[in-house]
């Protein structure tokens, strides 16, 4: 800055004292103050006298003031310094005030900045134009100190709020992304566990000569609490079971897996020496009491002697077993019995029958026949039975598939509220 020969008082002395007389685009400095001002204001004004005066007034109010001589320089400074408030003159060369405001609103880094447009314009049309083009408020060049203070304070207040919102928004977005990642990981884990469970279910087809096996299983959630098994006990015997853990989801699935392990043929032979259904249930009742949260299992166990086609079975509270003889009407193998763990002293009475060739035995979880219509009416065991009866001549797998189709049609949706499983065995010879 050149010194006028007419200026008596040293401009240098003034510059040392004032924060406002620095060159364009640079920090006005705070050498006169012991602490930096709380907020930073960028003043964009091409006219030097006006700029110097306004900067001095703002500095006197305790703000850190940055200056720029036009909108283009102002944008650079704003991007670099991220001031709390922008005060910009309307008419300037290179880039005028309204154009500057538009540029600010387009800039992702600056778009939420608070902008005061300095103007002598007080006509409604100009005010409307300024607001539409991105200004937040106006400041008159001839404004009193009180008005300047009031508008600057209001602008800074809004700026603080907006910045807080931006920070919170950004933190929320970050948390959301983390949650989504975690959720995706969890779902992948669950699916992996579900795939594993599916892999240990018996293979469909012919587990032993003379027996055909088909099943369909739809857990209510990714993992379910229903499990079933069909395995050779020895050369002449086939063991089968279906279990249902109360509740559903991961907890029920984990409990079911532990009972499934217990029911393995090798384990039973070691524990009780046979796969006699009544003895199996008795042992299971002992080893799986009611949990502290009231959780329990229902379990049906059967043993088929292949040479004689003699089926022995016992049930602990499981009522989903339907015998469908080839030439007779189907009937439920149901009688009252306690689930596992209800009564440590309970005895599980068994049943026995001889199957005929082409007879079918269906083991199911209650999720399939308790499927409810939109009005709340369960599909029911009777309708399930009808679905089986009408498909007597169809292949086993088709019959089971038909049951699921009918149940879904009844409840008018694909997913079941509770785990739904239907296992079918057919004597082929």
């Amino acid at each position: 800055m050149t010194r006028s020969s007419h200026v008596r008082h040293s401009v240098d002395r003034r510059m040392m004292k004032s924060n406002a007389m620095q060159s364009i685009g640079q920090d006005a400095g705070s050498s006169a103050q012991t602490e930096p001002p709380a907020a930073t204001i960028l003043l964009i004004e091409d006219e030097r006298v006006t700029r110097t005066s306004m900067a001095a007034r703002l500095t006197r109010l305790g703000y850190r003031v940055l200056e720029a001589e036009n909108g283009l320089v102002g944008l650079d400074v704003a991007r670099r310094e991220r001031p709390d408030l922008l005060i910009v003159d309307w008419m300037m060369p290179e880039m005028d005030g309204p154009t500057f405001c538009e540029a600010v609103r387009r800039d992702p880094l600056l778009k939420s900045s608070q902008t005061l447009l300095m103007t002598a314009h007080d006509k409604p049309a100009q005010i409307a134009e300024g607001l539409m083009r991105g200004a937040d408020d106006f400041l008159s060049k001839s404004a009193s100190k009180q008005e300047i203070v009031a508008r600057v304070l209001a602008g800074l207040r809004t700026s603080r709020l907006v910045r807080k919102l931006e920070t919170t928004g950004s933190q929320l977005e970050s948390s959301m992304r983390l949650l989504q990642t975690k959720q995706a990981e969890m779902e992948a884990d669950l699916q992996s566990a579900a795939d594993f469970v599916q892999s240990i279910l018996p293979e469909q087809g012919s587990p032993v000569q003379g027996i055909s096996l088909a099943w369909e299983y739809q857990p209510a959630l990714t993992l379910g609490g229903d499990l079933f098994g069909v395995a050779s006990i020895d050369a002449e015997h086939l063991g089968l079971y279906i279990l249902d853990a109360s509740g559903h989801g991961v907890a029920a699935a984990l409990r079911s897996a532990s009972l499934m392990t217990f029911l393995r043929v090798e384990n039973m032979l070691q524990l009780i020496g046979s796969y006699d259904p009544e003895k199996v249930l008795c042992e299971a009742n002992r080893q799986f009491p009611l949990s502290n949260e009231g959780e329990y299992f229902t379990l049906w166990v059967g043993q088929l002697h292949l040479p004689t086609r003699s089926l022995s079975y016992a049930s602990a509270g499981h009522h989903g077993v339907l015998l469908s003889p080839a030439e007779k009407p189907s009937r439920w193998l149901t009688h009252p019995s306690s689930p596992l763990g209800f009564d440590p002293a309970t005895v599980f009475p068994g049943g026995r029958m001889t199957l005929q060739p082409a007879d079918r035995l269906f083991l199911m979880s209650d999720g399939i026949y308790e499927a409810s219509s939109p009005t709340g009416e369960p599909w029911g065991r009777w309708r399930f039975q009808q679905a089986i009866e009408t498909q007597k001549r169809s292949p086993l797998a088709s019959t089971i598939s038909h049951c699921f189709t009918e149940a879904r049609r009844w409840q008018e949706q694909c997913d079941f509220f509770d785990d739904a499983a239907v296992v079918g065995l057919e004597l082929t010879i």
């Binding site: 050149t2 006028s4 091409d46 030097r48 008419m91």
Partner: protein, 119 residues
Amino acid sequence: METTTAFNVSEALNRVDGDQDLFFTLAGLFLQESQKEAAANCVALGRQDGAGLVAAAHKLKGSVIEMCAPSLFECTKRLEELGRQGELAEASSVCADVEASLAEVHAALRKLIAGGFPS
């Protein structure tokens, strides 16, 4: 406080919260810049450039506000309006008024700078 006809000293000092040093700095700047700004008015007029006249007159008007010079302010404002309206013929005579009024303000300022504020 002395009030000249060219500008209102007390109002101008009040505008800078009584900071005499600041006032003199602004005054010095004004003496420099206003001459350039006034010259720009003439150049724009000479070119019959209405938009250029508006910009130059507006700029001068802004700095005049700081000096609290009502008469100079009014004719600068008038010059800006005429430029906006495209009335460049009339603007010519107003431009001369601006120069005359500006000369008065300059003289008053120099006197104040030389003599200082009354104690």
